[in-house]
Amino acid sequence: METVVYDIQSGDYASAGAASRQVKAHLKRLGADSDAIRRAMIAAYEAEMNVVIHSHGGRLEARFENDRLEVAVVDDGPGIANVELALTEGWTTASPEARALGFGAGLGLPNIRKNADHFTVTSSPDRGTRVEFTVLLRPQPVVPAATRSLALYPDLCTECRRCLAACPTGALRVRSGRPLLLDHLCIDCADCIGVCRPGALALADTAADVSELEGGALALPPAFLAGFGPRTPVTRVVAELTGLGFAELISSHTYEDALQTSVMAAALDHELPWPALAPVCPAALDLVELRFPSLIAHVAPAASPWEALYASHGDATGACVVSCPAQRSALVDLGAKPQWLVEPQLLRDALLPALFHGDRAAPVTTAPLPSGPDPAPLLRVTGVAHVLAVLERIEDGLLGNVPAIELFTCDGGCFGSPLLIEDHHLATTMWSNTKLDGFPGGRTVERAAPLAPRPGIRLDHDMGKAIEKLARLDRVRRALPGRDCAACGAPNCAALAEDVVLERADVDLCPYLPAPKEARA
């Protein structure tokens, strides 16, 4: 925390704006995000101008905290006679001089209120005016908002709180009857979407109608092809897809195979520290950046299979069936249009009539098909809990004898995406019993942007302060009942304790709190 005070002279239009400019420079140095800086600037400049225009002089005090800017702008009078009126847009008492310069339009205080996260104004005619506001300087989200593929429809939330337990990084809260995403913690996996029955958490914009995509190429994951049950072989699905009118089918498995081969080769040549990590699941990579930045050097400098597929086919890629938000985000980031990205269910619905029509009545052979490619020698780790456990082990230096690992945040890898219907064991078996030719071959492509550590779970930028907060967090957590019931809207008691310490929530949200006063300590 740091407090800076700037003096503001009454009537000094020439140097007006100096205080807010310095606040801005400071926020930039702190690395606040640009939207927060803009809002902070508008509020600070308006408050500063009010002192110049209306008062006998005053000062701006800015407190820079870990996640917020707190500003108090205080003047020496003459004060505001009617604060409520002053908060009305268009109401002004500015001098003709100020108005001639384009100030005093009665927008100042309303502008501050609009741009700050908290705002108070107190004034009395003899003592002067005190305007206080706070702007939250949220950390940069893990996935930029423009590409993030988790969409929130808060009005649909029924407060079932299933998402709280499902989220592997504790990024969700349910507050005031609505889901709230701490986007600096969201890794764009699909776990919350899979459990949200009312659809308040869903995949962001994708294609609306399959028929609009026909005629072009279609890229899709093996899990989709193998996901129609044990009596519908992959060859049949491929035939029906061709029948729907897609000109060419591209399967991501050829790119996955290419990546496995290249990562294994790099590991065996000791080009990467063991275990080398194959960048196959973008959500797992987000997890490495967020929680295990020390392991970034283990990740092969290749693009993910879907990124490689998209880069290889360029504009001819056509429609892509995305099996999770992270894949969608990666493709949008490469410039894919959301209307060309297909949610698996949509294409499945389009295929079902053909698959179950006519000759489907005749039993399809259930005999094992010719065996597929040999399993890759990479250690395959699936499911967030296992991924976290293995990453911990790597960080502890305990897996140096394993050449290469692929990590998937979904149980069963991409076959287990919550957006796919078939059980992942059955779909995986179906796929491994399939031998398919005729798909375009895959290749690996270099990663465009290097991985970088992401801030997000530090309690404070200042280590001393962070330790203090940790102690406070521990006190609050011990005062909480430890039932992890999620009634407060946080996934567990530790998460509520963190919310309290970071001032995101009040400890009173816990309905079982035995002694609220102690917990607030």
Binding site: Y13, A14, A16, G17, S20, R21, K24, R38, M41, I42, Y45, E46, M49, L101, G102, F103, A105, L107, G108, N111, K114, N115
Partner: protein, 117 residues
């Protein structure tokens, strides 16, 4: 549209020739207002402002709003201190002989539209 092309099309006089990168600056949106609080709250980031105000605070507000350029309409001329401050803040200044209405109309015809920030 590039700032340089806009200036040519509208016959604007460039007031900050100390800066040189006008071919590189892309302007997608604009705003017109003489009320500085309004500019601050609503002008689109990276855009151009058309205004009658020529005093120092315009530069401060345009810089806070992260605008790329300001066009002073109706032949209004800022003093040297304003120009110096603008150069310091990396803000391009132009003078138009046309009034605000005419200037905005021609900008709009060139594809520079309003876009609430």
């Amino acid at each position: 549209m590039k700032l340089d092309d806009i200036a040519k099309e509208l016959g604007l006089e460039y007031l900050t020739p100390q800066m040189s990168d006008t071919e590189a600056v892309d302007i997608a949106a604009g705003y017109a207002s003489d009320l500085l609080s309004d500019v601050l709250a609503n002008a689109p980031r990276g855009g151009v402002l058309v205004t009658l105000q020529v005093h120092l605070n315009v530069v401060a507000v345009a810089s806070h709003a992260e605008l790329s350029a300001v066009i002073f309409s109706a032949g209004r001329t800022p003093d040297d201190a304003v120009i110096a401050k603008a150069v310091e803040e990396d803000l391009h200044l132009y003078r138009a002989t046309d009034d605000t209405f005419e200037t905005v109309g021609r900008l709009h015809a060139l594809g520079v539209k309003g876009q609430r920030a």
